[in-house]
Symmetry: C5
Subunit: 79 residues, 5 copies
Amino acid sequence: MKIGTVIGAVWATRKAECLGGQTFLVVDTGRDDLVAADRVGAGVGDRVLLATGTVASRYCMDAPIDAAVVAILDGKQDS
Amino acid sequence: MKIGTVIGAVWATRKAECLGGQTFLVVDTGRDDLVAADRVGAGVGDRVLLATGTVASRYCMDAPIDAAVVAILDGKQDS
Amino acid sequence: MKIGTVIGAVWATRKAECLGGQTFLVVDTGRDDLVAADRVGAGVGDRVLLATGTVASRYCMDAPIDAAVVAILDGKQDS
Amino acid sequence: MKIGTVIGAVWATRKAECLGGQTFLVVDTGRDDLVAADRVGAGVGDRVLLATGTVASRYCMDAPIDAAVVAILDGKQDS
Amino acid sequence: MKIGTVIGAVWATRKAECLGGQTFLVVDTGRDDLVAADRVGAGVGDRVLLATGTVASRYCMDAPIDAAVVAILDGKQDS
């Protein structure tokens, strides 16, 4: 998984029907900004763990989503 | 998901049979131009959300497609 | 999907059994050269659309293939 | 698979329920730092092999995880 | 698929149980070194074709593997 920081959110009126009710956060991963579905309750400034690919879709009831916030980090212990 | 801007479209007469009837948009993601199937009705200049991988194929009736426009963005709230 | 240009082909005598009968083209995607199975009949110089990942395998009868030519482009309309 | 070196770990109190009980290591792959679930017992300084994508999720009981440590390397024989 | 050159091998005593009996080669793809399971019998110096992702796992009896050597190249015909 990638670690990133939540920097905002996006909204869409016109979208795939099955995306209704999902919250989409913009996450800065250091390299790219990704948009991820959030079901953990993350907010701007939170450091989060992202799961990507089919795994994210399965976690979001098989919606056409390829990135999801799966955890909000408490801390990181470096060597 | 990636955010991108629709910059055009592509057409193909010779293609996998199961691709018939799909619309393919060229989307500038800032890093690469990707071609994505569109089922939301996006047009040139729209800022869109792309889902990639198997997820996109499943959204497009299991066609051999690895990117799809799943939403047209209203706005983006940065921190 | 990625757009690329066919620049050649590769052959392999020693390979996974289930790859027999597949044609493999080398496609220049601007960033990397990828090898893709071709079932559309593309040739050197053709601009093609590539599907990658599990999607490509499914399109090629579940062979251990992660890229496939799914269309030969007629033209591209830029904004 | 990618080779990387374990450089730390991360913790999360707020997370997807199905992530409970998983250990998450930070792995330096030379290019990016990735977070991977560990079920092999790796520690800081170990050189490990990472499997990514749906494969990693399946290895971790279908949890929303896209990277897993699948081996701790003994040695590497270069040409 | 990616083309690469086999430059060595890796060994692991501590690993996922289901990886027993697999051979892991280090393959230089020009950009990154990847570790791939080999079931074709490639050796150092061979130019090989790599399949990545879930496709590779399926080819290796669903082991937690995300890259596999699927062919040893005879030659490459450029345009």
